[in-house]
Amino acid sequence: MSQLLQHLINGLAAGTIYALVALGYTMVYGVLKLINFAHGDVMMVGVYMGYATAFALGRQTQKTFLGVVIIFLVAMGGCALMGFLIERFAYRPLREKPRLTSLITAIGISFALSYGFQLDIGFLPGAAPRAFPEIITPKEWLIIGDRDVVVWNWQVMSLMIAVGLMVGLQWLVFRTRFGRAMRAVSFDHRVAALMGIPTDRVIAGTFMIGSSLAAGAGLLYAIKDTSVSPLMGMYVGLKAFVAAVIGGIGHVPGAVVGALLLGMVEEFVVGYLASTWRDAVAFGILIIVLLFKPCGLFGRVAAEKV
């Protein structure tokens, strides 16, 4: 029983982080019909921004509440800027070109970031994995039995931050003018433009929000798993992408459900079946979902216009 509870906690922690990254995939797909493969790598860059900020603040300050807030703000703001630049200079010039062109560009950016960051020149961190500083001093939040189940303070905080970010996003998409514009662009960006919606600005804004969510997710991931490396983005990005597809890419709550499902399934497969089966089962679920619901669990079937 205690083992089951521990697995639930672990799975939830992994799932919420996948969810934050998956949201970025799903939002960009929603407005542009583009799978932004560089998304995971943007997350990685955000983690290194946080890493550098933590070091700049020093050992004492990085552990204070203000320090943690600064680290999150710098990383999320920096990634928003990066998302903006990537969209402006890599994707916007290609917007009217066949969609495959943008997709290849996305893959190119992904490789440029993940391999560029393996260089050891200037500010680039080099290939070796690094330990992310403990910006939240670990403390047991809840102990059940004879340390059968341990919940740590940072696990609770991560969960709260993740849920907070998701609620904020939901509010933004469904309760603000910008959100309405986003939904309009997602519905049909040409018609939206005719209605006077500044599509370029909405798309740039979507990229910025997605990228800063990724940075937030990356920091939670770094706090959880402590090891950061330039290739981490590809790995987490792939998982989050799968989660977004399971949930129905383009569908915001679907991405969250898909991510939590994936996190839990991975955890339980390893815990009760065998660890070698983890990825096989995760991708098996993807295939099964796509077989029965080709648009994902929550995806809408859009009539193909001929």
Partner: protein, 407 residues
Amino acid sequence: MRRFVPMLLSALALMVAGCEKKTQPASTETDTSKQPAQGTAPATPQPGTPTPPGNTSTFLLGVATSLTGGQATFGVSTRNGIDMAIKEANAAGGVKGKKLEMRVYDDQGKPEEAAQAVTRLITQDHVVLILGDVASSNSLAMAEKAQAAGVPMITPSSTNPAVTEKGDYIFRVCFIDPFQGFVMAKFARETLKANNVSVLQDNKSAYSIGLTDVFTRKFTEMGGKITGTQSYSQGDTDYRAQLTAIKKTQPEAIYVPGYYSEVGVIARQARELGLTVPLLGGDGWDSEKLFELGGSAIQGSYFSNHYSPQNPEPRIQKFVSEYKAAYGGVPDALAALAYDAANVAIEALKKAPDTSGKAIRDAIAQTKGFPGIAGTVTLDEKRNAVKPAVVLKVGDGTTEYVTTVNP
């Protein structure tokens, strides 16, 4: 939406194609990086391409190792060790009046890149001999190419037995996995007096699987019990599910024959879940990064290794201080083994009557009682070095020598 699947497929196809072509820009260290694609190289040597040996005033040694990727510190140590041996040999007058030089290609820690690097070293750079790599999976891929071309290869630190089984041109200057697995099984049973041990292996690495295999067999033979085997994949950073499952079996120690990049994090998460038993491992732990990644969680764990920098022998202390001066940091076992491998190679070049692959091969095969930094190297008929291993205990930013286990 219907367009999505073909898009994903083409994206994946492109990714794969992208992976194969990357070697060119990413993987060179020397001034030949401006060469055109390697396909054109063998037939017509370009300006700046070294011509085949015999006509030159240098011996060119080829090195393929992982300078980027998860095991980057291994590759950097290996390169430094070889570099140091070559500089010393050149300072002492070189070999047969010729200077030694090395050409290093980065394999990014991937077998396919390693194989390509070796092909390039052989067909394009015409090296007399190949040194590398650390990870057995990479060395296996390299050995295949080197054996086929008849170019001798010495791996400094790949411990998987299959590497030298690739053929009679492949050698190593370290002990092999069965021995490392045996050392830790004996240590766990006799020194730690453990009855129940769990295993957490890296199922993407030939090295880790090899060690697990032997450890499991030997430990069971010695009367111990393996309470469970879990696995992870290189690059994972969340091991909580495996560790939660291991915790249930209440082991007295956990054997984690992985690489430092993962082991440090595993240790942290084990402590977090309330698993306080020591972790046991192999030489894959040996990196200064282990202390950074593992923090206080990894302290009190043990691993088998090739040498200890604390060994008071003056010869070894001289190596340690010279290495520190030249490259910064204490040389790990991989640096020491790379230094030994390069020296064995240099000795063989001195002894070989000519520079043909066969002559050099025969000279290497005769290596006996060579005084290396990481133990005396004697190559057996299977081209493996026979030498003792040490067990080290992880302390605060350093390792302590615990015991030596003989073959």
